[in-house]
Subunit: 357 residues, 4 copies
Amino acid sequence: MAGNTLGKTFKLTTFGESHGAAIGGVIDGCPAGVSIDIAAIQGELDRRRPGQSKITTQRKESDIVELLSGIFEGKSTGAPIGFIIRNKDAKSADYDHLKHAYRPSHADNTYDIKYGIRDHRGGGRASARETACRVVGGAVARQVLNYIGIRVWAFVSSVGSEILTTNYTALNPADVESNMVRCPDAAVADKMIALIDQIRKDGDTVGGVVTCVAQNVPAGLGEPVFDRLEADLAKAMLSINATKGFEIGSGFGATEMRGSQHNDQSDDTGNHTSNHAGGVQGGVTNGQDIYFNVAFKPVATLMQNQSGVDDQGNAVSVKGKGRHDPCVVPRAVPIVEAMTLLTLVDHFLRNRTSKIG
Amino acid sequence: MAGNTLGKTFKLTTFGESHGAAIGGVIDGCPAGVSIDIAAIQGELDRRRPGQSKITTQRKESDIVELLSGIFEGKSTGAPIGFIIRNKDAKSADYDHLKHAYRPSHADNTYDIKYGIRDHRGGGRASARETACRVVGGAVARQVLNYIGIRVWAFVSSVGSEILTTNYTALNPADVESNMVRCPDAAVADKMIALIDQIRKDGDTVGGVVTCVAQNVPAGLGEPVFDRLEADLAKAMLSINATKGFEIGSGFGATEMRGSQHNDQSDDTGNHTSNHAGGVQGGVTNGQDIYFNVAFKPVATLMQNQSGVDDQGNAVSVKGKGRHDPCVVPRAVPIVEAMTLLTLVDHFLRNRTSKIG
Amino acid sequence: MAGNTLGKTFKLTTFGESHGAAIGGVIDGCPAGVSIDIAAIQGELDRRRPGQSKITTQRKESDIVELLSGIFEGKSTGAPIGFIIRNKDAKSADYDHLKHAYRPSHADNTYDIKYGIRDHRGGGRASARETACRVVGGAVARQVLNYIGIRVWAFVSSVGSEILTTNYTALNPADVESNMVRCPDAAVADKMIALIDQIRKDGDTVGGVVTCVAQNVPAGLGEPVFDRLEADLAKAMLSINATKGFEIGSGFGATEMRGSQHNDQSDDTGNHTSNHAGGVQGGVTNGQDIYFNVAFKPVATLMQNQSGVDDQGNAVSVKGKGRHDPCVVPRAVPIVEAMTLLTLVDHFLRNRTSKIG
Amino acid sequence: MAGNTLGKTFKLTTFGESHGAAIGGVIDGCPAGVSIDIAAIQGELDRRRPGQSKITTQRKESDIVELLSGIFEGKSTGAPIGFIIRNKDAKSADYDHLKHAYRPSHADNTYDIKYGIRDHRGGGRASARETACRVVGGAVARQVLNYIGIRVWAFVSSVGSEILTTNYTALNPADVESNMVRCPDAAVADKMIALIDQIRKDGDTVGGVVTCVAQNVPAGLGEPVFDRLEADLAKAMLSINATKGFEIGSGFGATEMRGSQHNDQSDDTGNHTSNHAGGVQGGVTNGQDIYFNVAFKPVATLMQNQSGVDDQGNAVSVKGKGRHDPCVVPRAVPIVEAMTLLTLVDHFLRNRTSKIG
């Protein structure tokens, strides 16, 4: 039983391979009557697009989304929204040497075992190119959530050992897009960019952390006991290529704290004096900010020789060709936002049946 | 749309509140023909049971599971397995003072907002008592996975600042149950126990980390692109009460690594020389060990005064009564195992449709 | 992938075999705040109970439902409602001769092939006893739908060749329970009862039709294109034991009509002048009455010799022992109502996300 | 919660409106390694295409399907198969008069109530044009089921009062396509064609029955207790536009039979001597032929004046413009087949988890 659908009420199903004819998807469950701004959807997609700067892959994809259904006279109709993005700049020949070789730390081998067949061109279905469809879904989700004022924004909080230590509350969301690494602190961003540039020159790659914040989320979202909001956020994040970890609120830091420090107590007016919870109690939002970190490993494709195996079990030396990112985290920012938006809109709609009244 | 079912093929649905008549559940999708060892199921439940030692809650529940269906002459029949566990030692009067008061960092307030009504006795549905049903489900899952030799074991790897630094490969699973804190290193365990005991005397609580390992998992499990194995593991873990984080393989440490360090290369015989991946590539198992960490916050109920609010928005002082754990991580070990087993068995069955042949 | 759950938002999962310890289920997704009348639930169950009259099976089951969770101070809490019904009057010895013999037109053989194991006692999971759990679910659904005034009632409209030809609009729902065959026309009911009684004496059985009506259903329920209301009703009905057909509104009669006869036109005030549609247009309710027929085959267990096979493929003669219904349709009335209520409440809740406003 | 996905393991999600840019869909869960014959898929689509004969609509759509993903070197890869069909011959101006008028017995009014907005052009999402996507899905399903030799074929068994009384076992599947009405008896076909032609000239429409047969289906398919095979077939059929009824095996005829007539007994060699069941016992296939009837109402769009209402509640006279079928049943044949194939392939895959061995 395959798993290409996310969500239970607002559902995104995606399809497509890196070097196939097109990638695309279907959004089923978008409520009717939502004003759909197609330019804004394209704008989100442009943020994820390859070839934007010296620190990202040089693949040139215009990534124009075509919305095929579900919208009439500028509004959603309640019918499913189908969309496609044509693949244009696929250079499949760059992958001919990988038809039988398994790259270290890629999905080549596991896909072959699972399916017995593999589209090796550009990573096929396992390519992060698929996430463009998530960005489209997230952009529609954002337009739904605009109706209740939810704001979701993410930024790069670390690249390798270059770490932004400022709390998100002291940062300005408007600064995220002011530099190519998407770190809203100019000084730290410069260091990150220098690091990535150096690593790129080394033919190497590096990991990092994306921090995401959701504000003005109404209390009451999340479905005990299994579909807690943080559980669905964790799933959404770990479904993104190259992610290795998720922590919400106090996260792993909570493990070293005492309850008397960690509990979010109230002041005289009933307001919380802290937010270690990260906006969720018992799996349900409490109206405070949601914030969480997502860990990304270094990109696995390197411009240097690596020891792998081929599909006959023989040792082979593998080196990346083609166009790859030395650090995926800047381009992951809109993807993390999209997955957050998709999770929130699904729970926003799910919560409509929690009470009879 | 509620969320009390986990899994898509091997499905566990749970019900029940801390102080209601019973808790229980239904396992739907257990394949027919599995030998069911009822004593082994009870044995897993006994590991989670309260009142086992001085470092756990003193609530005395015998927690006897009654299996009501789906088993005939010692084997599963393919029909759903219904089960109940009666609540015996519920002392609801301990919670009378909480009918209108919201405890800091509990689900009291969020449940009231979400549902407009709340069973305040013992935390109601939000109580970790519900996890007993997950342990029953996990115990059945383990008996299915025994058919293919999968072994899942977990242990406490930190309590507050007391941290076990030994890699799991150097530990002996048989040592986990040798002490009350479930840390398979006697010296570290002693320090953890001393810490918990001191914190209990302070009327305080403390967090910690559970590490879980799954071995002999066949390659090929996990469903791209959304239901990756690590995504479903992350969800399963973050659905457990009091969890704040999840990391698999290299986890957050990966963010500071270079690709040339992180990639799991192969030796001359085609075997991996490292396992930073934690057993998954592209969301699909590769046959190596799966290992991951789960972060638990300190228990929110303290035996000291805390500032909260009541359901009228007034500030109130709240102090725990009744019987509570100063540190939840030792009792979380069988729960983490159960959620891992449930996730693996679901993917084991899902993978049966990946190929035509 | 098993199938013991009905519904997507208001979900009923059932478990249990005819001669096991208990049957039961879980209702997940009942909105919070619904007043739950437990006596009314028991009352619905009493309507389905065996041993009520000379024309039904003489198995004596008190069928007392125990509600275990999800209700607090008389109201639903939004948490899952677990329930069990203990099996009391199971006479498993009546089935010893069937351990290896397959009864004609029963599920004995197909279950053995599907699962490789079979609880032969009383039909096991394939017994219509399981439908008691559906009646419990339907009774809760009715209490939810009471909030919007929906009324669902069913009656026996034929037994063998004894057919009630009066349109439902000329019948009085209050008359359904006035006789043991549940036909709201006393004269026709007498003929039906006489027929069943004769057939029972012959050691034979007979089929019939149950007609169901749902009134005051709001317009807008049903989810194109696959989860049309009539599609989900059809599924619900064909999931009941012994059903062979379903028709809504004009049904099979529509196939012989012209569009100019069949179309439901409007009068000067905009009201429909007919209801061939049966209350649904394009899969969505239009506010008119929903009415449909369900065909039941004759009960397969006969008190006479029949030619079957055993599990070795040998021909065997099989004759019913124990206690069986000569005609299932009177007891099917509350089951058809329950399945209708479950389908309607699911769609009532699903429709809450159709619009943004 | 919308409903544009069919199936649980082999899942088809469709999108698109009659006069939008394109219709299309995603098949998720097709096993890897299936040889995909694209010409055969197009061939099935051509059978459903409008404009084929004088008894069908004159809309000229080439209906070329473009498969976008999930296939590599002629085989399915296990990745989702996305596809689109561009709309070419949409004449939206034919529908301008319907922007505010509700046609009798159409979905115009119910969609407006449900969604508050409606794409009125060509019926929008409610148009039977959407079923082209089901035919694509069914064609892929057929190629999967070819691996186990299942054969599914359907035919027109009645148009109005012209009824084919011959049992399917005496008909030749190869004769179905020998005439434009898809009735495999030439004499009856001629009468049906004459009837449709006359009705078309009258500006009227007529209903009919499609009979479908599935042969060589392995025993064991179907998932008790809710997802019985016949329940899912019933749902699939009632989800097709214009259907009003479903009956399997003996169907409504069973209601007038005695058990001693109806039971499918066995002969000396253990073979069934009849097949009143229609190939299913207890919701599970028994290896005998599956056969069932589907009732279609007359098409609602008439070339004559009808009394309807507009969106202000005023009475209006409505008459069809554009191109419509006087009788939908011939074109429904490939759709009924497709829905049957989709249901069978889903259950074929679901059954892979029924046993541990």
